[in-house]
């Protein structure tokens, strides 16, 4: 019984220590206050309002305190760190965002902080087929 309770506490602590995740349903005004700009989402890539075309815009968000620059790299931009720099929040906070148009499919991606530190998206599925020793995440874009 005691051991089981410890496990529960450990799980709760581990959950609380995860990088910031906020339910996407959170009041948009609160999010604007956090980022000082348009409503960011802090729970993995989120689909922007649907477009008529097959390509849809997805917003990627990461919290990276003290970062000087953050790049979004993945299957959608040739893993080129110069292609998709992320924008910091207008008030200089730790929230960085980028919007990328994606066609239906499964994409692997990661965040590159200050050109050397790799971060997976804590709010997205992990790429199990990672073979290069650094974490990656997965975003899946559906067609229906």
């Amino acid at each position: 019984m005691f051991e089981h309770s410890e496990n529960v506490i450990e799980r709760i602590v581990a959950h609380l220590r995860r990088p910031v995740q906020i339910d996407p349903a959170v009041d948009s005004r609160v999010m604007e206050e956090i980022a000082g700009g348009p409503t960011p989402r802090v729970s993995g890539p989120h689909e922007a309002p649907p477009a008529e075309t097959a390509t849809r815009a997805f917003q990627f968000v990461v919290v990276a305190p003290r970062a000087a620059r953050v790049a979004l790299v993945g299957d959608f931009n040739d893993w080129d760190a110069a292609r998709t720099p992320m924008r910091p929040s207008q008030r200089g906070g730790p929230v960085w965002t980028a919007v990328v148009p994606l066609s239906p499919g499964r994409y692997r991606y990661a965040f590159l902080v200050d050109g050397s530190r790799w971060l997976a998206d804590p709010a997205a599925p992990a790429a199990r087929d990672d073979e290069f020793g650094t974490p990656s995440s997965v975003v899946t874009v559906g067609g229906s």
Binding site: D75, R106, P125, F132, G142
Partner: protein, 211 residues
């Protein structure tokens, strides 16, 4: 005989063109000069076999950007070729490149070719998202059999967006402490509606006990 010679010449020409295409892909210039021809050769072989090459290029570029050793990059691309080939065998010749890529990921996650074939038969529309959700669930810790059973049960009647939401629900429950097998069962039942859903998973986990 003449026809055979003509066909062989055409195939040879197509292969040479393909080889030239891979060799001229400037994106591969980011690879180490000693690695680039090896990767290009693997990609050429895949193209000749009718497999999609873009996932292979992306895998090589990922390795280059992450600073992986050359042999690791080549090995990763070769394994992806094998997975794509196995996925095509399971899913059929008309499979789209996104479906093949998602199928390869599902195979890598541990799903068997039979599951991929069942998914193909279960759904008339594209199965990219069901395959991707299957791979993601397994990555989240859900036993392969449980994940496959749930996705197979939902695939025929559930839209892509709802499948993605189903996966999110499972991940939420796991993050809150639910055993992965139980989380997928609960979310699948909710997604399937009041009629309930029996998951013949063969890998069920016990109900979580209360502290």
């Amino acid at each position: 005989m003449h026809l055979l010679r003509t066909t062989s010449t055409s195939l040879l020409g197509a292969t040479l063109i393909a080889t030239a295409a891979a060799a001229q892909d400037q994106r591969l210039d980011r690879l180490d000069p000693s690695v680039r021809p090896l990767v290009a050769s693997v990609i050429d072989s895949a193209r000749a076999a009718g497999l999609p090459t873009e996932p292979l290029v992306q895998r090589a570029l990922e390795g280059a950007t992450k600073g992986a050793p050359g042999e690791v990059i080549v090995g990763a691309v070769q394994r992806l070729v094998a997975d794509l080939g196995e996925a095509r065998s399971a899913l059929g010749p008309g499979t789209t490149p996104p479906e093949l890529a998602a199928g390869a990921a599902a195979l890598r996650a541990g799903a068997g070719p039979a599951v991929l074939a069942k998914l193909r038969r279960a759904r008339s529309q594209t199965i990219t998202v069901p395959l991707a959700v299957l791979a993601d669930l397994v990555a989240s810790g859900v036993p392969v059999d449980s994940a496959a059973a749930a996705v197979l049960a939902l695939a025929s009647t559930t839209r892509d967006a709802d499948l993605v939401e189903f996966r999110r629900a499972v991940e939420r429950d796991i993050a809150l402490g639910a055993p992965p097998g139980m989380a997928v069962s609960t979310a699948a039942s909710a997604a399937y509606g009041a009629q309930g859903l029996q998951l013949d998973a063969g890998a069920r986990q016990s109900r979580p006990s209360r502290p």
